[in-house]
């Protein structure tokens, strides 16, 4: 019998549900039948369960779960790799390099990440502090980054500051001199794929005392990050933003996060000429935060179409080798990452996959009532305890470990020694739609 003496009811309640969750996350990926109401065409039952399994074991699923593609009927789901015959594979013991330099210019720090992925912005308030900590610690462990999103920089993240990107968005929540100075990378969020052109919105219910303090706002009042930056109407204006960051922190790399309009190629080139080190394209089908359904489905183009458009244009403008192109918005699996790179990106920015690793069922109830019932996208003091940061950290690390195994295996079969050699290799892809 468990030791319950000396524990409060709240402690016991939290322990009880955590134990149940962990049992369920281990049970379902191995069960003969998936939970019937789980999944959708983008994140199928198999993809969710495979992610849970990878997050638990750190290994590639070997029980028949489909972990490579979803069932959306388009984009990454109609692409596959042309794997050559086995005699052309590299030997099994070949060292395959997954590292990616993020700075291709001759100014700023020469940063490199160990895997071609980092965590996308999810703000304090839209996710719990535990989730932020889990992501930051995982980024440190993996030798990559995670982004604050636009909600402030909780003091508990400062120990991981070398792995945290400070996001500057239109609401400027939590942007301070010190959070710019901490940052190895500062990310300007001009737009985001889930709600392109619409800005951000934190519902009043989530603006608790602590969240409001972090954002220097009034508790329980909804917060808007308006669209767009009204100080930026041209590439030259954007340059001012870059200069502002450089003045505050000359070492920092500047990333520009944009959505995918028809002229996304022009936007990318403009960002480069304004001084960005990283152009981060956020396609329309992704996102973790609350967004109007009409925006998620209908505004701006999916990332699969934006990447080659931008890559080609950067090449034609002779600047492709001076800028790092990161892609996000519907990148769900290691194979999606590889496909994005083969289409022309350098690497990917991940969001939903990390949340699924730590227990998200993609039920879309993040904004309902007290927030996520699994303790992820919530500021409810009791609920957020349901996802302990150390557990979450390990799950995220494990998932990326399983991704790394898959990427190395794929590259070896494609005869490539480095993930960097995959970039723009459309010849290695085939269309299976």
């Amino acid at each position: 019998m468990a030791n319950i003496a000396g524990k409060t009811d709240e402690q016991l309640i939290v322990e009880k549900h955590i134990a149940n969750f962990h049992k369920g996350f281990a049970y379902w990926p191995r069960a003969e039948e998936a939970p019937p109401a789980l999944g959708d065409s983008r994140w199928t039952q198999d993809l969710i369960l495979a992610t849970w399994l990878m997050a638990e074991t750190g290994q590639v699923p070997d029980n028949g779960l489909e972990y490579k593609i979803g069932a959306s009927g388009g984009g990454f789901d109609v692409l596959d790799f042309n794997i050559p015959s086995q005699d052309q594979w590299l030997p099994a013991d070949t060292e395959i390099d997954l590292s990616l330099p993020l700075n291709r210019r001759d100014d700023g720090a020469q940063l490199k990440i160990n895997i071609p992925m980092y965590g996308g912005g999810m703000s304090y308030g839209s996710i719990s502090e535990h989730v932020m900590q889990a992501r930051a610690r995982a980024a440190q462990h993996l030798g990559t980054f995670t982004s604050t999103g636009e909600g402030g920089y909780p003091p508990s993240l400062v120990p991981y500051k070398d792995h945290i990107i400070t996001q500057v968005a239109t609401g400027m929540f939590g942007v301070r001199e010190e959070t710019i100075q901490y940052a190895p990378i500062v990310e300007f969020k001009y737009a985001q794929g889930a709600k392109p052109g619409l800005g951000g919105h934190l519902l009043g219910d989530k603006a608790t005392d602590v969240v409001a303090a972090m954002r220097e706002s009034v508790p329980w009042v909804s917060l808007f990050s308006p669209f767009p930056f009204h100080s930026v109407y041209s590439v030259e204006d954007h340059r001012k933003h870059v200069d502002w960051i450089r003045t505050t922190n000359p070492r920092a790399l500047v990333s520009v996060k944009v959505s995918t309009p028809t002229d996304v190629d022009m936007v990318a080139v403009g960002s480069y000429f304004a001084g960005a080190h990283i152009v981060h394209l956020d396609g329309s089908y992704g996102g973790t935060g609350a967004a109007p359904e009409i925006a998620k489905k209908n505004i701006a183009m999916p990332i699969e179409f934006a990447i080659p458009k931008v890559h080609k244009y950067l090449v034609s403008e002779n600047v492709r080798e001076e800028v790092t192109l990161m892609a996000s918005g519907g990148v769900r699996t290691a194979y999606d990452v590889a496909k994005a790179i083969a289409l022309g990106a350098d690497g990917c920015v991940m969001g939903t996959a990390e949340l699924i690793a730590i227990g998200c069922t993609r039920c879309s109830n993040c904004e309902r009532g007290r927030g996520c019932p699994f303790g992820l996208t919530t500021t409810d003091p009791l609920l957020q305890q349901l996802m302990p940061a150390d557990w979450g950290q390990q799950r995220i690390v494990n998932m990326y470990n399983a991704y790394a195994i898959q990427l190395r295996d794929l590259l070896r079969k494609l005869g490539l020694k480095s993930i960097r050699e995959l970039r723009g290799r459309r010849d290695l892809l085939r269309y299976v739609g």
Binding site: N20, P35, H230, E293, T361
Partner: protein
């Protein structure tokens, strides 16, 4: 008060007042919650022992939405509260199962699928824009509406208004005739054609079924249109007794009504002819010389539209069936483009107004239809769904579809549901316009440059890949 002050004092920003209007007919729940009772009983016994009777710990259940909060808890789950979060089945996989409810999924028909029904039910009951977390859950692109995305303005375009300007984006559209240019005589007086149009506050016209209408429905439609400052297209027979809403009513007349036009209890501002008929046209223009005459006809007539315009018709209400198909099988999105282009090619697009009905069943279809060339959408089946109509099988043919409305339909509820729906759709339109940086919806019409089509994008992105041919994407 000086005149300009008076005008300013009289100004009010257009706004649709919304308020909750919950369902009056109980629809099947979205999920089935199946709890094996023996499993639950065992758990309770185990936890009583384990937690030594600490009630709050024992009774702490996974569901935060009240499904297990009835008098007997999980032994009789209250399925109607289930939002499908799957926490219960994650915590207790051995005895809890959550399934989609097939009864709920059978609402609507093969075109107006349950997802659209769910969406409309939410919009009509709340008046809100549907907002959810965790990204998009649907298929990648697709056919028809789903193969089209709208543009947004990124950092280097100076015309955008964004969220700050959203409140001042105009959704007013004009219905009627505007000449391509004005002509004046030497004294400066206008000669030739002068504008003849009316303005409505949102690009939504209510289109009532032209078949039998349940009691009270015409009144609900008419009052809603009047309160929204828009129009309702009603069969001639159902306009009786609705004179108080006359300014909002567009009676649909057929040749047999030619001699009964005087029986209308009001002077219509706009009147719709069901199909072209020379004699009827003459009768209408004689009876109501100031009215705008619209032609209600199928998209199949696209080739003849320009000639009707030359005969005096300046407003065209074009119909596809309820599934968005024309008699020759075309889809409404392409049909709209065809009609729009016909007028552009004839050089008179600015002179005419195009309304369209059929297959436009979600908020997103409205801006897409306008980008393809409509001035406004005449909404049909979504209004019935907002009133909780149940489909009697497949409902595609306009004259042969059966919808069953709730028996206890009442006017106040019905009007609020329709107003909520229109408010939600208008707000969603504002999201699209805000993202594009457009200040007024009239600029959306025919803006094909602000649309992205899956076929084109896929060809640009994937052409040259092994296995990709033009035929791959249809």
């Amino acid at each position: 008060m000086p005149e300009h002050r008076e005008a300013a004092a009289g100004y009010h920003r257009y706004h649709i007042p919304t308020q909750p209007a919950p369902d009056i007919e109980k629809w099947p729940s979205r999920f089935k919650v199946k709890v094996r009772r023996s499993g639950l009983a065992k758990l309770l016994i185990k936890e009583v022992f384990h937690y030594r009777g600490r009630k709050d710990v024992i009774l702490s259940r996974p569901c935060m939405y009240g499904v297990f909060s009835g008098p007997v808890g999980g032994f009789m789950p209250r399925e109607e509260h289930c939002v499908g979060c799957l926490r219960c089945t994650t915590e207790f996989p051995e005895f809890v199962r959550i399934e989609h409810n097939p009864e709920r999924r059978s609402l609507g028909d093969s075109y107006f699928t349950f997802n659209y029904v769910d969406q409309i039910a939410y919009e009509a009951s709340s008046g809100l824009v549907p907002v959810r977390g965790a990204g998009y859950r649907g298929k990648f692109g697709g056919e028809g509406w789903d193969g089209m995305w709208t543009d947004m303005s990124e950092i280097v375009r100076p015309t955008r208004d964004g969220i700050h300007g959203r409140e001042t984006i105009s959704t007013v559209v004009d219905i009627g005739f505007t000449p391509n240019y004005l002509e004046f005589d030497p004294s400066g007086q206008p000669t030739g054609s002068t504008p003849h149009y009316l303005s409505i506050q949102l690009p939504i016209v209510l289109d009532a079924p032209q078949t039998e209408l349940a009691a009270g429905v015409a009144r609900i439609y008419a009052r809603t249109a009047a309160e929204l400052d828009t129009l309702v297209v009603l069969p001639f027979e159902y306009t009786t007794g609705l004179g108080e809403f006359g300014d909002a009513i567009v009676p649909v007349v057929r040749p047999e009504h030619a001699r009964r036009l005087g029986q209308l209890g009001f002077t219509p501002r706009i009147i719709e002819m069901q199909g072209w008929d020379e004699a009827l046209y003459a009768a209408i223009t004689t009876a109501f010389p100031l009215a705008i005459v619209a032609l209600r006809t199928g998209f199949e007539e696209t080739d003849a539209l320009v000639s009707y315009a030359q005969r005096g018709i300046k407003v065209f209400h074009l119909l596809a069936d309820y599934h968005g198909r024309s008699a020759d099988g075309g889809f409404v999105l392409d049909l709209i483009r065809g009609a729009h282009t016909a007028f552009v090619d004839a050089g008179i697009r600015e002179e005419v107004t195009l309304l369209g009905s059929g297959g436009m069943i979600a908020a997103e279809h409205m801006p897409k239809a306008m980008i393809c060339g409509l001035d406004a959408v005449a909404v049909d089946t979504p209004l019935l769904v907002a009133l909780q109509a149940r489909f009697g099988g497949e409902c595609s043919a306009r004259g042969a579809s059966s919808f069953r409305l709730p028996t206890d339909l009442n006017e106040a509820w019905g009007v609020q549901r329709l107003k909520n729906l229109c408010a939600s759709w208008r707000d969603q339109l504002l999201e699209i316009l805000g993202a594009m940086g457009l200040r007024e919806v009239r600029r959306l019409r025919g803006e094909m440059g602000r649309a992205m089509f899956m076929k084109t994008l896929e060809a640009d992105a994937f052409a040259g890949l092994l296995g990709y041919t033009e035929a791959s994407n249809g």
